[in-house]
């Protein structure tokens, strides 16, 4: 399967070299900056939670309180205050919020001791994440693993309890990954709401309590079904690393976590997003979370046939950033979709070419394939067939995370029966074509190979061009998704802070130190002991 298409290896090498240079350039900028949410996430990693009397998270209160200290990092003065008062992190945060305690610069003679103590606390914080990851490994090993591709569906009632009920119904119908849709406005909130959501608009908030409730529901249904059911949410928007922290602690398994999505589609400042994605991805890496990137969205604004190569380039860029944040290939769920107008002759042929190209460019990565949305009709019968061809393309080209299309995509958030018939559609196609890919190689210089080659060539051209002008400039020019963004514009720019030479944050090192490697492994449902390799959870 992996060599079904003959690709030009030189082009692939050039693409990676250009993406590496692009990411290195931005990484220098990342290393010179911190952000409000980076500092808040560091406090959350110490175990601070909760809100003040007007529902402002304590971590926001502390960071605002210490704004002038941020260029050197919040942790040195914070841990110093813990030392001086003999209180724990939570009590100190509460003391600051109550106005009883004040954060102050740490005099040089105390720095060494404070830093050693902060490093120890960082290791403790990371150990909590490790324990959650170990628990996942244990559950997958004992409860079992579903076969690939994973069937990924969405719940979006706005009430976490109803979401949980729908999620269980979906899991029983065959869903392997449940994504809880976040209320649309959350991406622009510069804080993480607290507590359960029962009346959200278009989704629930990503809160630690909602994560916990949904996790419990999926563990329960996973036990019943005999396979682990994965939970996905969004480490995106203005609070990427804070949400990643909460997800790491509440055992989410996947996170939408893109290096550029917020810039392009939510008009979040690009400097902010690049800094934020870095810590969020280090946390996801540590937590054994599989990230999903959002390139599929590019072609909702740009045309799939004309601008498909921008998805390919962006996947290379997202890969480069992800590897720099310590994610392993099995954790990098590069997203893609090339939704070409169904009215175009040979639409499915091109769809196969694009999907197969991405598969071969990123071997060993759990690719996330995104379903038709833009051209889905109100005629649900026609829509069901379009989804069927998408499912066919997915199994044929070895996609691993299949976000299922819904026949009612154009109409409403899925009804129980919409999800049910869509899962039936997918399961039928996946089983009916399970080994088809092994039987296929593509005609040399045929339509599919030519299309894939052209996409790759155009992606290389774009990547080399972006390398020459820099990614900031490329985003300014609207070279991804036809959306133009200003490096100093967009939301959250005021929360980007240039770091001082003595910036201190021990989490960056602690998150990299001695971490576990490899995906969770469990026995596939229906697999016999005499069967072939029991690999589950992705190659490594």
């Amino acid at each position: 399967m992996s060599d079904a298409l003959q690709l030009n290896g030189d082009l692939v090498d050039r693409a990676r070299a250009a993406a590496d240079a692009i990411a290195d350039d931005i990484q220098r900028h990342i290393d010179e900056h911190t952000t409000d949410t980076t500092e808040r996430a560091s406090l959350r990693l110490l175990g601070i939670t909760g809100v003040n009397e007007i529902d402002v998270p304590l971590v926001n209160v502390v960071v605002e309180h210490a704004r002038s200290l941020l260029p050197s990092g919040i942790l040195r003065p914070f841990v110093d205050l813990m030392d001086r008062t003999g209180r724990g992190a939570q009590e100190v945060a509460e003391g600051v919020a109550a106005g009883e305690l004040t954060l102050a610069p740490v005099p040089p003679e105390r720095c060494e001791g404070v830093e050693a103590r902060a490093e120890a606390l960082a290791r403790e914080g990371v150990a909590r994440i490790d324990a959650v990851r170990a628990r996942r490994n244990e559950l997958v090993a004992t409860v079992g693993e579903p076969p690939k591709p994973y069937v990924y569906v969405i719940v979006a009632t706005g009430n976490i309890y109803e979401d949980a009920a729908q999620a269980k119904a979906a899991a029983r119908a065959g869903a392997d990954v449940i994504a809880v849709i976040r209320t649309t406005a959350q991406s622009l909130l510069d804080y993480v709401p607290y507590g359960e959501t029962t009346e959200g608009f278009g989704g629930t908030y990503a809160t630690q309590e909602n994560f916990r409730l949904m996790r419990a529901a999926l563990d329960e249904v996973g036990e019943e079904l005999g396979h682990y059911v994965r939970l996905c949410n969004y480490a995106s928007g203005l609070c990427m690393p804070e949400i990643a922290t909460m997800g790491a602690l509440e055992r989410l398994d996947m996170m939408l976590n893109d290096s550029m999505y917020g810039i392009i589609f939510r008009n979040i400042n690009m400097q902010r997003t690049f800094v934020d994605q870095y810590l969020s991805r280090l946390i996801n890496a540590r937590a054994g979370i599989v990230i999903n990137t959002g390139e599929d969205n590019y072609l909702t604004t740009a045309d799939a046939f004309e601008a498909g190569h921008t998805v390919v380039s962006s996947d290379f860029i997202n890969e480069a950033f992800a590897l720099r944040a310590n994610l392993e290939p099995w954790q990098i769920g590069l997203g893609h979709a090339f939704e070409i107008d169904p009215a175009k002759p040979d639409q499915v042929v091109y769809q196969i070419a694009d999907a197969q190209l991405i598969r071969q460019l990123f071997p060993g990565y759990p690719l996330k394939y995104m379903p038709p949305t833009k051209y889905m009709p109100g005629d649900i019968f026609q829509g069901h067939i379009i989804d069927g061809m998408f499912n066919f393309t997915g199994i044929l080209t070895g996609q691993e995370i299949m976000l299922l299309g819904m026949l009612t995509e154009a109409l409403h958030t899925p009804l129980l029966q919409d999800r049910y018939v869509s899962i039936r559609n997918a399961k039928y196609v996946f089983e009916a074509c399970r080994h088809l890919a092994d039987e296929i190689s593509y005609k040399p210089s045929g339509l599919i190979e030519r299309r894939a080659d052209e996409q790759l060539r155009r992606a290389v051209e774009q990547l080399e061009h972006v390398r020459s002008i820099g990614l900031f400039k490329a985003l300014q020019n609207g070279e991804f998704a036809d959306v133009k963004r200003d490096p100093d514009g967009g939301r959250g720019f005021e929360g980007v802070i240039k770091v001082a030479p003595d910036y201190f944050n021990p989490f960056f090192a602690a998150l990299r130190e001695g971490r576990m490697s490899g995906p969770p492994r469990g026995t596939e449902r229906g697999e016999t002991t005499a069967g072939d390799s029991a690999v589950a959870g992705g190659g490594d």
């Binding site: 119908a173 209320t183 608009f201 008009n267 909702t300 604004t301 129980l416 029966q417 049910y420 018939v421």
Partner: protein, 244 residues
């Protein structure tokens, strides 16, 4: 003349159904589904599929007949009757009868993060082979994108001295779109500028009658093309210009 659904024979009244009942599947489930449809007034019910969707829910596919008919001539409502023009004719109309560019500002307002609707109507490339408003040489069209606060939309429309404001609302859970749309109207009225603009809303749950009820000049539902919106804007702005 009364008509009724046509399945296999004229006037047979056949309708297909699919629905879920919150009950565990059992041998009597098919009868529960059948009697439910009979309670709705259907007869000759055939349950084509009846199966456990999970331990708590049962999914049905059914066919049934109705004796109810309808006379299309008796259906009255508030429909937007726009004379649809082509790209060249719209531009010519603006040029000749307005004598300047027609200014349009559009956005998905407040918490709505979806640009798909406003993009389809406004972006250069348009939708389904139909150019978007940005492509019209006689229009000065600005698509502000999504999550635009009402105040920012209004400020921009005033700064650009726009003739029309287009609003898209995709998210409709808990009727959030009604809140947003009302908020915009209230702001325009509070600022005393409601009459300055042709105010148009579009979205999957929007129709003309509903838009009018909220105080908008027109509403466009699903499957609307840029051409329909452009035709309406050109005709309406020219009409107001000539009446003034």
């Amino acid at each position: 003349m009364l008509i009724r659904p046509y399945g296999d024979t004229r006037d047979d009244g056949v309708i297909q159904f699919s629905f879920t009942l919150p009950m565990p599947y059992s041998v009597k489930a098919a009868d529960v589904g059948k009697q439910f449809l009979e309670k709705l007034g259907f007869h000759t019910v055939g349950i084509a599929e009846c199966r456990a969707m999970d331990p708590e829910y049962t999914f049905f596919v059914a066919y049934a007949r109705t004796d109810v008919g309808i006379d299309p001539d008796e259906v009255k409502g508030d429909y937007l009757e726009v004379e649809e023009m082509d790209f060249a004719a719209i531009n010519a109309l603006i040029k000749e009868r307005l004598g300047r560019k027609l200014g349009v500002v559009g956005a998905a307002i407040e918490s709505d993060a979806h640009t798909v609707g406003i993009d389809a109507i406004m972006n250069m490339k348009g939708f389904a082979g139909n150019y978007g408003l940005e492509r019209y040489p006689e229009m000065d069209a600005l698509n502000m994108g999504s999550q635009i606060p009402c105040a920012q939309l209004l400020r921009t429309a005033l700064e650009r001295d726009a003739d029309a404001i287009l609003v898209s609302q995709i998210v409709t859970q808990k009727n959030i779109h009604v809140q947003h749309l009302t908020q915009l109207i209230e702001l325009l009225e509070a600022e005393g500028v409601r009459e300055r603009f042709v105010l148009v809303v579009g979205g999957p749950r929007i129709n003309n009658a509903f838009a009018k009820e909220l105080g908008y000049d027109a509403g466009f539902g699903p499957r609307t093309t840029p051409l329909e919106v452009a035709s309406f804007l050109a005709q309406e702005v020219v009409r107001r210009h000539e009446e003034a």
